[in-house]
């Protein structure tokens, strides 16, 4: 089949950028979306044109490096799927696709479809961890975790940090990302001692990074490739209110 692409091309952070039209003939239904872009790039190189820069690494849907907007939807039309795991069998001959980078003030564009997601790392550095230096933990079975808690914690921990939630949110809020980490650690007994400190520090960092606030729209949940649930944001808000109340005056 033939696919028509309109790809965001931007040389660097200072360039204004714009959409450029390309045709990719002979797309196989078994190709992944990124393999289709590989084919486009090989073709561009053959014509001495600069290939499209896009982030990708594992191509198994777990590293969280890939992703772009496909016709305005982060990671494209298939729910619960990263761009690298989206296959061309979900498209048809002649489809026109508009590819744009994640757009958020906290994620500046570096080149073409590549953005800087360093703000996510700084959110984790602010408090998304349990402070246990190597060697100080007790025996694994000394800490019992009810299976249901462990399962719910794992549901939240599945977040791959791709940034689709921020890109899709009209407010460019990082609430789903933060909520996922806060729920992952807050559902476990190991995460309790730092629970309040964690949420306070992460929310403060999100504000400093100029992520927007959550207004419960739910676009993030709809595009999350790991299907992280909105309830993690509710948990974060509850923890935040509790922490603000407990720590008042400090």
């Amino acid at each position: 089949m033939k696919i028509i692409l309109h790809v965001w091309r931007q040389r660097n952070a200072d360039d204004k950028g714009g959409l450029v039209r390309y045709e990719v003939p002979n797309v196989s239904e078994h190709m992944s979306f990124l393999e289709m872009l590989d084919v486009l790039n090989e073709d561009l190189i053959a014509k001495n044109e600069d290939p499209v820069a896009f982030d990708h690494d594992c191509r198994e849907g777990i590293c969280g490096m890939c992703g772009c907007m496909v016709n305005g939807v982060a990671h494209g039309p298939l729910p619960g799927t990263t761009l690298c795991q989206l296959h061309m069998r979900h498209f048809k001959d002649g489809d026109e696709l508009y590819l744009e980078p994640w757009r958020a003030r906290a994620f500046p564009v570096i080149k073409d479809l590549v953005v800087n997601r360093g703000a996510f790392d700084r959110l984790i550095a602010a408090g998304g961890f349990i402070s246990v230096s190597t060697g100080s933990a007790p025996d694994g079975n000394a800490i019992l975790v009810p299976k249901t808690d462990s399962d719910r914690s794992m549901d939240a921990a599945a977040c791959i940090g791709c940034g689709a939630c921020v890109a899709m949110c009209p407010n460019a809020s990082a609430s789903l990302f933060m909520g996922a980490k806060i729920a992952h650690l807050g559902l476990l007994p190991q995460g309790q001692p730092e629970r309040q400190q964690r949420v306070t520090a992460m929310v403060a960092q999100a504000n400093a990074e100029l992520f927007g606030s959550c207004t419960n729209i739910g676009e993030c949940e709809a595009v999350c490739p790991k299907e992280i649930r909105l309830e993690v944001i509710a948990r974060m808000n509850r923890d935040f209110v509790k922490a603000s109340w407990t720590n008042r005056g400090e």
Partner: protein, 637 residues
């Protein structure tokens, strides 16, 4: 060059404890005066950087991805081994040690493997402490499952995302140190050369992948945790960015490369679908716990799998290996799959696949149980192939997955260049000729959390580090080398893309240095690789400039190194006239088609010294002795 493994002697149970006591310590107040460079942020590098910073060292940490959380350790699915014996099924530190030495086909150092087994206990504790959501029993205790190559249940897991969860644990520990200012993190920065001053590793030269800026970083020690080199084959289960450049350029600066031909083929990958294929996807071999592997009995049987009655199916692993059945180690499972496909009994469009069938397990346990155990793997399979494995058997085929070889290191994880440490898959140390399932995560974390932070003290405490800066001749020379490589690649302006050369090299390697190797095939590869390499340098087409984000230039540098490494792998495979583990030389097999080792002549680690591109490297041998686990032919029957 004498290779001193610094392996302790005496009772194996106390070797690590006695060795640790003999190592010098660095006073806490002096630790912050030392800077350590860590390259790579996977389980080994990430855990190492975090732990060294916790101890008080200044750490500079580098990764080529946009965040330290992306390293390919993240893709490990199945689990991590530990000899906790929580299930009272006969496991022990000694049994894990025994299984690993035997599984490695008697080509690993006993001292290292024993230490790994001991440390496996601490790893689980540490990870639980960090909040890794391991699977639990209803009682709240940790759950385990069994895995290929073992008859006990010692594998801890977090659904099918164990690597992800362990890596996030290490990443969060690392971010905590970054936030505290004890680690300076350099994402999107690639190491392109090692700086050696007065015979000691003192720094690295890097390229900022956004601006293209070439920079030098000086330190008292350098740690490489940069992973394996499976992408030599182009198609592998590695991430697209996984590369050998850091270890290869260290090799060119004098670090010995050990056992390069020991590569592992993973039996349960999704088969290739076309020429455009960019990588292969692995599915955890935990699938073999409940899935049954089979092909039709008859050649060329094109019926749909559900049309083939049980009597006309060949469950070849269960037939040939009744006691281990579908759980035989990876190399055995892979070779048998290749064999039935070579016989013309392969399935699917290409005939290069075998079935992995869950029908019986679904019947026995019910769909919800199977979904609970393997749900995400089944979803992944369906996304890629468009087929529902709850309804039709999966099609699987072996693919390159892991490399046991790597830079040679002693018991302290230090290479032959003083001050250069190598951890995780990047070194050659613990898995011999074949790695058992769920042991890569164990080794990466053992090296990063527990081994390296202990052994590096001794080096720092025993040496003086004269100040060095960018004006030093060795630094300027390394920077010039890096600049020249980029310049040459950009100025070639040839006709073919980097990927087209990489694919061609990969095909050659898979054909002649893949699952089955022969002297004749290896000689063919050795005669073709140099020509292809020279053609690459004459004809490669890299567009754009060096002072910008240029993904073609990044790839070109890595592929240039793969060409040189490929030649060494073939040479090593040709030199080793025996079959062992993942290295299967077709000339050396038992009458039943199993690997035939030659302990008399090849019970050594082959450590190669670089002598120049296209010049035969020099082989150094580290003899291996087995005091505890006596070499025998591996039998899984």
């Amino acid at each position: 060059m004498p290779l001193d493994s610094k392996s302790p002697v005496g009772p194996i149970e106390t070797r690590w404890d006695r060795h640790r006591f003999s190592l010098k310590l660095v006073n806490p107040a002096n630790k912050r005066k030392h800077t350590i460079i860590v390259v790579g942020t996977g389980l080994a590098g990430g855990a190492g950087a975090a732990t060294l910073a916790e101890l008080g060292y200044n750490v500079k940490c580098f990764c080529f991805q946009d965040s330290p959380r992306r390293a390919h350790s993240i893709a490990a699915q199945g689990g991590i081994n530990a000899a906790k014996n929580y299930h009272n099924d006969g496991d022990s530190v000694y049994r894990l040690f025994y299984d690993t030495v035997k599984g490695g086909d008697f080509r690993a150092r006993e001292s290292n493997v024993y230490r790994l087994s001991q440390i496996s206990l601490n790893i689980i504790d540490q990870c639980v402490g960090q909040g890794v959501p391991f699977a639990r029993e209803y009682s709240g205790y940790l759950d385990n499952r069994s895995f290929g190559g073992a008859q006990v249940s010692r594998t801890f897991y977090a659904r099918g995302q164990t690597g992800q969860q362990l890596l996030l644990g290490a990443y969060q520990a690392l971010e905590r140190q970054i936030g505290a200012g004890r680690v300076q993190m350099f994402p999107r920065t690639e190491m392109l050369d090692l700086i050696v001053i007065d015979g000691r590793a003192r720094g690295i030269v890097t390229r900022d992948l956004i601006t293209g800026k070439i920079e030098s970083h000086i330190a008292d020690a350098v740690v490489l945790g940069t992973g394996g080199y499976g992408n030599v084959y182009y198609l592998s289960t590695n991430a697209k960015g996984s590369n050998a450049t850091a270890i290869w350029r260290a090799h060119k600066r004098g670090a010995l490369f050990a056992n390069p031909c020991f590569t592992q083929i993973h039996p349960t990958c999704i088969p290739v679908s076309g020429e455009y294929q960019s990588k292969l996807t692995l599915m955890s071999e935990s699938l073999r716990n409940d899935g049954r592997v089979w092909v039709p009995l008859k050649k060329g049987d094109k019926r749909a799998p559900n049309q083939i009655p049980p009597a006309e199916r060949d469950y070849f692993l269960e037939r040939k290996y009744p006691s281990f059945g579908n759980l035989v180690p990876r190399d055995v499972a892979s070779r048998n799959a290749k064999q039935v496909c070579d016989e013309g009994r392969g399935v699917g469009e290409t005939g290069l696949a075998v079935y992995l069938d869950f029908a019986e397990a679904i019947h026995r346990l019910g769909k919800p149980v199977i979904k609970e155990r393997y749900g995400n793997l089944f979803d992944m399979y369906e996304r890629i192939t468009g087929e529902d494995p709850y309804q039709v058997p999966m099609r699987i085929f072996p693919a390159i997955h892991y490399t046991m070889g790597g830079l040679w290191v002693d018991y302290n994880l230090m290479s032959n260049i003083p001050g250069l440490y190598v951890a995780g898959e990047a070194n050659f140390s613990d898995h011999g000729a074949n790695r058992l399932g769920a042991s890569a995560l164990m080794q990466g974390l053992a090296d990063g959390y527990f081994v390296l932070p202990n052994t590096i003290n001794d080096y720092l405490a025993s040496n003086k580090f004269p100040a060095a800066d960018g004006s030093h001749a060795a630094v300027r020379e390394a920077e010039a080398n890096v600049t020249n490589i980029s310049k040459k690649l950009l100025e070639t302006k040839g006709t073919r893309s980097v990927d087209s050369y990489h694919r061609e090299l990969g095909k050659l390697m898979w054909e002649y240095c893949g699952m089955g190797r022969t002297a004749e095939g290896l000689k063919t590869a050795l005669s073709q690789i140099p020509g292809l390499r020279e053609q690459f340098w004459r004809d490669v087409k890299v567009l754009g400039a060096g002072e910008e984000l240029n993904q073609s230039l990044e790839k070109a540098g890595r592929v240039a190194d793969f060409f040189e490494l490929a030649e060494l792998m073939c040479l090593d495979a040709l030199e080793r006239n025996e079959s062992c583990g993942g290295h299967f030389r077709e000339e050396y097999q038992t009458p039943e088609g199993e690997a035939q080792r030659d302990d008399e002549n090849y019970s050594y680690a082959a450590a190669w010294e670089f002598r120049g591109v296209g010049v035969r490297p020099e082989l150094h041998k580290e003899p291996l002795t087995f005091e505890y686990v006596h070499p025998a032919q591996r039998s899984y029957k």
